[in-house]
């Protein structure tokens, strides 16, 4: 009678070694899921209360040292529960739905943050995170500032003489490079910065053939930093045969930006738009510096 019990207990004991991951209870333990959401939490000055983030939360840098709950669309309920969070901020793009249901069932306090890749979406995000954290005041100020700065950048961009055709490529792996079509965050960024998406034949990110790229006749190539590094640097990219003959390659116009910064639609959006606008319209440098510069002390 005793033996099975002992055996069972020993087993469970052995097994529980693996799962010894708890920390003592503290108040205000936050788990943040979604790159933009995490940025906002930090902007609101609550970065030190984060106990874990998802793999898309790459900014600011110290976020990368926090425990990872995995990719935002492949979360694990028990993993999150084990962190004993007092609040889980979830981009409403997070998933899978079954896991979110399980987290609700476990009584984990969840707040879903609307996450749209639009300028208004950024303000909404900031307000939603502020409300969830009880920092409505700061959040309101931050949302206003962001909106105002975006508006200022837009006013400058409107003065631009032309609208360059911009081709955003996700990467330059083997085969056809994946290009941003309509209804993508990249498309929105290009428009905000006073450009035209050179691809308007399809929605979403899709492989584009060499001919399609030539037909698109981009004036500017826009690529993520990792893609350019992987391809061997700026000159190597501009020398690639699939760009040969495009205006961008002829004039050597290649803009390289960090993916999260460019496409994250977080609080850094005005900076990102201004940076991209500057790259697309060098003639506006002075105006951008005068009218659309960040408020002193407002941001790092």
């Amino acid at each position: 009678m005793m033996k099975p019990v002992i055996l069972l207990a020993t087993l469970l004991l052995l097994v529980s070694q693996v799962s010894a991951q708890t920390s003592p209870q503290t108040t205000g333990r936050i788990v943040s899921v979604g790159g933009a959401v995490t940025e906002i939490v930090n902007e609101l000055g609550l970065g030190d209360r984060l106990v874990a983030v998802d793999s898309t939360s790459l900014h600011p840098l110290e976020m990368r040292a926090l425990p990872q709950v995995g990719y935002m669309r492949a979360l694990s309920a028990e993993g999150v529960a084990a962190l004993h969070p007092d609040l889980v901020l979830l981009s409403d793009n997070a998933g899978p739905p079954a896991t979110i249901e399980q987290m609700r069932g476990l009584g984990i306090p969840l707040k879903l943050i609307p996450d749209r890749p639009t300028p208004e979406g950024v303000a909404d995000k900031i307000r939603a995170v502020g409300a969830a954290l009880g920092r409505q005041g700061e959040a309101e100020t931050m949302a206003r500032e962001t909106t105002d700065r975006l508006a200022a950048v837009s006013r400058v961009v409107e003065k631009a003489a032309g609208r360059p055709r911009v081709l955003f490529l996700m990467g330059l792996g083997r085969g056809a490079p994946v290009a941003a079509g309509r209804n993508t965050a990249a498309d929105a960024m290009i428009r905000l910065a006073g450009g035209i998406n050179a691809i308007d034949g399809y929605d979403g990110y899709k492989p584009a053939s060499g001919e399609a790229i030539l037909d698109a006749a981009p004036d500017v190539l826009l690529l993520p930093t990792e893609a350019v590094d992987a391809a061997g640097g700026r000159d190597a990219v501009l020398a690639l045969p699939q760009f040969a003959g495009t205006p961008a390659a002829l004039s050597g116009r290649l803009v390289v930006m960090d993916t999260l910064y460019l496409l994250g639609f977080g609080p850094r959006l005005p900076d990102a738009v201004a940076d991209l606008a500057l790259a697309l319209h060098p003639e506006l440098a002075q105006d951008l510096a005068n009218d659309a510069a960040p408020k002193p002390g407002g941001r790092s």
Binding site: Q21, A52, S55, Y71
Partner: protein
């Protein structure tokens, strides 16, 4: 008088069978207990035990984790592993090919195609209200079953199913389903793409009592029915012709085996996505230990399949705490090299 060799071969064989099943049952029990005890949350063994026995006395949080996360997940994992392994064993017997697996008859490809369609195209508004969160599993199940029935239909002529045509039709339909899936993926957005990727790597993370109850009838049904088909599967190892001459009604048996497999694996795909290698490797392992007779192979595969699936899942949910690896990744990562080793070994001992 000198009946020793036969006794060696059959009687000691039988007691060895009992021994093997006993060992595998113990391993399965250990795996189940361990699976209940392991997880991102540290819950003491005693608490787990108490929670299982007297849920009312446990803290709500422990009770929720043990009873609503780990218990359904463990049962789902075990049932799924058992169903996949038994289905694999039956397919290998039916095709007389140790490399056959349920994927051959289109179950996985069909299920994946339907699941991707739901992810990319969404649920028709008309159905969304009624099926809601079950749209994906229901579609995966229906896709698996329809694909297999189509393959079976193509390979059947005049009530006879030609196994080699079944195999070829399976390859063709798999290719078509794969292409349709690819086409859907082409039309998907970034978010859907990620969902598809993760779904196709399999996970037990979504296990709830509903998922368990959804899989149970098919998994249990397939395992129990498999036991009844042990005789005909043994005979089929000699070929369909010999099985027929031995008095077996081969045609209906083949049809039922294919459909039971499709239902069990389809339900598995619906519950946890595509999890590879269990159906292929587990029956192999059992044959190495215990020979090819189905009377032992089928129950032993069920036990070992469930056990290994739980081990893979424990790994999947503990190595990157608090995140989780897709379990299909773990099974493929462990199963792939093992399978290669088997192949190389087999080539050495039976050169072609």
């Amino acid at each position: 008088m000198t009946s020793l060799p036969l006794r060696d071969a059959i009687w000691t064989g039988r007691s060895r069978h009992a021994g093997i099943l006993a060992i595998l049952s113990v391993l399965a029990a250990v795996a189940i207990i361990a699976s209940l005890g392991v997880g991102a949350s540290a819950i003491s063994p005693g608490t787990v035990l108490r929670t299982l026995l007297h849920a009312a006395d446990a803290s709500p949080r422990d009770a929720a984790i043990v009873l609503h996360l780990r218990l359904p997940r463990t049962l789902l994992g075990f049932g799924l592993g058992a169903a996949l392994a038994v289905s694999g064993a039956m397919m290998q017997g039916l095709f007389r090919n140790p490399l056959a697996d349920p994927g051959l008859i289109g179950v996985s490809a069909g299920g994946a195609m339907a699941a991707v369609a739901v992810i990319v195209l969404g649920v028709p508004a008309l159905l969304a209200g009624t099926v809601g969160p079950f749209a994906l599993p229901l579609a995966a199940f229906a896709g698996s079953l329809c694909t297999t029935l189509a393959i079976q239909r193509i390979a059947s002529d005049d009530g006879r199913t030609d196994v080699s045509t079944l195999l070829l039709a399976g390859i063709a339909i798999n290719a078509i389903a794969g292409a349709v899936t690819g086409f859907l993926i082409f039309g998907s957005d970034d978010r859907q793409l990620r969902d598809i990727t993760f779904w196709s790597m399999g996970s037990l993370g979504g296990a709830t009592w509903t998922t368990v109850l959804g899989l149970a009838p098919f998994a249990v049904g397939a395992v129990v029915a498999a036991g009844r088909w042990a005789g005909v599967l043994d005979a089929l190892l000699l070929g369909e012709r010999e099985a027929g001459l031995l008095g077996f009604d081969v045609e209906p048996a083949k049809r039922r085996i294919v459909i039971a497999t499709a239902a069990a694996v389809g339900a598995g795909v619906a519950a946890a996505g595509v999890i590879g290698f269990v159906g292929l490797v587990v029956p192999h392992l059992v044959r190495l230990m215990a020979g090819a007779g189905h009377r032992l192979l089928l129950p032993a595969s069920a036990l070992l399949g469930g056990t290994l699936m739980l081990c893979a899942d424990m790994l999947a949910r503990t190595v990157v705490i608090p995140a989780e690896l897709p379990i299909g990744l773990v099974t493929a990562l462990l199963g792939g090299p093992f399978f290669l080793w088997l192949l190389i070994r087999q080539r050495r001992s039976f050169p072609p």
